[in-house]
């Protein structure tokens, strides 16, 4: 068996007495979608933030592609191919959709200490950015300001920006939050299509999406992983039903 692309080992983090991440270990294999589910307040976003480098864990290790990245900052991890999308969109509102994506292309292509040539005239940046927008079905909104896009479109743009960094591993923090039924279906189809290119860690509340997409599901309750396995196994797990799915079914 090949080594996992991402290996989280005994990760722990506390805010004072509150243990938000408790001894979390999980492996994510290349080419898979690994979903992390759990009730509100289970520490899912905190976990993702530690994987993306936005937060430092108190103890434990994060190993990516055989390399210990526990102490690497977010920008450094992105350059290694580990990108994330945010639950609350953090797009650049004053930039157009195309400019938002072009900036992500610029980050990995060539120096940004270029002071004279207008970036808008760089064909290479725009072509690649346009391709990413087309990937998420947002090409026709390229010239709209990010701040003026609808909620669903912002989610799509968020994804286009993440893809423009050319990730090997994409951390998706509730990518379907607040989207309508049709938008959600479109995004789910899109993630399914991306599976061949990008490994994904998915946090999601929408159980239909999770069970449609995920190869592996881990259940997080109070910062601790209580179950991990294939969707079918997790669905059958009594502890999970009690802790989480049972509440939803009721």
């Amino acid at each position: 068996m090949t080594a996992p692309l991402l290996s989280v080992q005994n990760l722990s983090k506390s805010y004072g007495a509150l243990k938000v991440t408790q001894d979390v270990s999980l492996d994510v294999r290349e080419g898979r979608i690994h979903a992390i589910i759990g009730p509100n307040g289970a520490g899912k976003t905190t976990l993702i933030s530690q994987l993306s480098g936005q937060l430092r864990p108190d103890s434990g290790r994060v190993v990516y592609d055989g390399r210990d990245i526990t102490r690497l900052d977010m920008a450094g991890r992105v350059r290694l191919g580990l990108a994330r999308s945010f639950q609350l969109t953090t797009l650049l509102p004053g930039f157009t959709a195309l400019e938002n994506v072009a900036l992500a292309v610029q980050a990995r292509e060539g120096s940004s200490f270029r002071f004279l040539r207008p970036a808008a005239t760089e064909g290479a940046l725009n072509d690649q950015a346009m391709a990413c927008l087309a990937d998420v079905g947002l090409a026709d909104r390229a010239r709209s300001q990010a701040g003026s896009l609808s909620h669903g479109e912002k989610r799509q743009l968020e994804l286009a920006v993440a893809l423009a960094t050319r990730p090997r591993l994409l951390l998706l923090d509730e990518p379907l939050a607040g989207t309508g039924h049709e938008e959600a279906a479109r995004l789910i189809a899109m993630f399914g299509g991306l599976k061949d290119r990008v490994t994904m860690v998915l946090i999601e509340h929408d159980m239909n999406a999770v069970f449609a997409l995920a190869d592996t599901v881990s259940v997080l309750v109070y910062g601790r992983i209580v179950a991990s396995g294939s969707p079918a196994e997790v669905r059958a797990d009594a502890r999970v039903r009690a802790a989480y799915l049972g509440e939803e079914a009721a």
Binding site: S52, Q54, D73, M74, A75, V78, R79, A83, R84, F86, T90, L91, L92, P93, G94, F95, T96, L98, E99, A102, L103, A104, Q106, A107, R108, G110, S111, S112, F113, R114, F115, L116, R117, P118, A119, A120, E122, N126, D127, M130, A139, D140, A142, R143, Q145, V161, A162, A164, T165
Partner: protein
């Protein structure tokens, strides 16, 4: 790619609008000396020169405050470095304008790199306070510099020369050299803000988190912008010393730094044209209102309040709504 050319289409008129306004301002300014002579008011040339000097200073501040969201309250220090570069070098027998500019820029670059590297570790109000503190340190350094007049400042024996020629001696020469430098600084900053570097700087202003999430570390870009802004402001300092034929620590007091922020707010931040309008108008109002009353600051304050209340985006925002330099979006 047709959809790509469509995507880029709106950018052009928007930029052209800002440029048009800037060109109008330059043309207007260029006409001042002949007009002043025709009106028999040559003093206007001196006033207009001062206006443009501060327009350069405001432009430089706009790069960090408007585009980089770094509210520096110590920017006047760089006016001082430019001014004292003239005083120190001319005392040493070096009169060339280019050498004066070079020395002012070099001193500013060093000071900005050192203080910027420390200041940029803070955010928000702390950044304002720490830049204020560094600005005051520079101010008191020159206040205690007794061989250069200390508190009283020092009068220059003559203005800088350009390649050995006394180009700045007359009010008109001084005026056109200042105008030329204003155009240069504006054009340079205009290009810079649209460049890759400019995009990173503006992106960091809008969301530092987003920039990190796509692989940028903001610090080196912010520091570079901070140094560039300091260097450009020192150009205004060199011109200010030449215009007044006098150098004093008062140029770099925190009142001056505050006044530069006022210029940006009055003109509109983050558009360059706004900074230029703000610098020009602030000095024009000062000179104009001071003729009528020693309490001119009251009138200036009133105008500032009205602009802040009724014209978000400052005077350039107002001009835009009136159809001048309109953004396409």
């Amino acid at each position: 790619m047709t959809d790509l050319s469509q995507a880029l289409a709106p950018a052009r008129p928007r930029l052209a609008g800002r440029l048009k306004l800037a060109l109008c301002i330059f043309a207007l300014m260029a006409a001042v000396p002949p007009l002043a002579h025709a009106l028999g008011e040559p003093f206007l040339i001196v006033v207009a020169t001062r206006m443009m000097v501060f327009a350069i200073a405001a432009l430089s501040l706009d790069l960090i405050l408007g585009y980089g969201a770094m509210v520096s309250f110590g920017h006047a220090a760089y006016l001082g470095f430019g001014a004292y570069a003239v005083a120190v070098l001319s005392r040493a027998g070096i009169d060339d304008l280019f050498l004066h500019l070079l020395a002012g820029i070099a001193a500013s670059a060093v000071f900005a790199a050192l203080t910027g590297a420390i200041s940029l570790r803070t955010r928000g109000v702390y950044f304002i306070m720490i830049t204020l503190a560094f600005g005051q340190m520079a101010f008191f350094f020159f206040v205690s510099f007794s061989t250069l007049g200390g508190d009283d400042g020092v009068a220059l024996t003559a203005r800088s020369t350009v390649l050995g020629m006394p180009l700045l001696q007359g009010a008109q020469g001084m005026f056109y050299v200042t105008l030329a430098l204003l155009v240069l600084v504006f054009a340079g900053l205009y290009r810079l803000t649209l460049s890759r570097f400019g995009r990173v700087l503006t992106g960091t202003r809008e969301s530092a988190l987003r920039m990190q999430a796509i692989g940028f570390r903001p610090f080196p870009y912010q520091l570079t912008a901070y140094v560039i802004a300091g260097c450009l402001c020192s150009i205004a300092g060199v011109l200010l010393a030449n215009q007044a034929i006098y150098v004093s620590p008062a140029y770099m007091s925190w009142h001056r730094s505050g006044e530069m922020i006022v210029m940006l707010v009055l003109g509109g931040i983050g558009s360059l044209t706004g900074a230029m309008v703000g610098g020009l108008v602030t000095i024009a109002l000062e000179e104009g209102l001071a003729r009528y009353s020693e309490h001119w600051r009251l009138g200036f304050g009133l105008i500032l309040v009205l602009v802040a209340l009724f014209s978000p985006g400052g005077l350039s925002g107002l001009l835009r709504r009136l159809g001048l330099g309109r953004d396409a979006t």
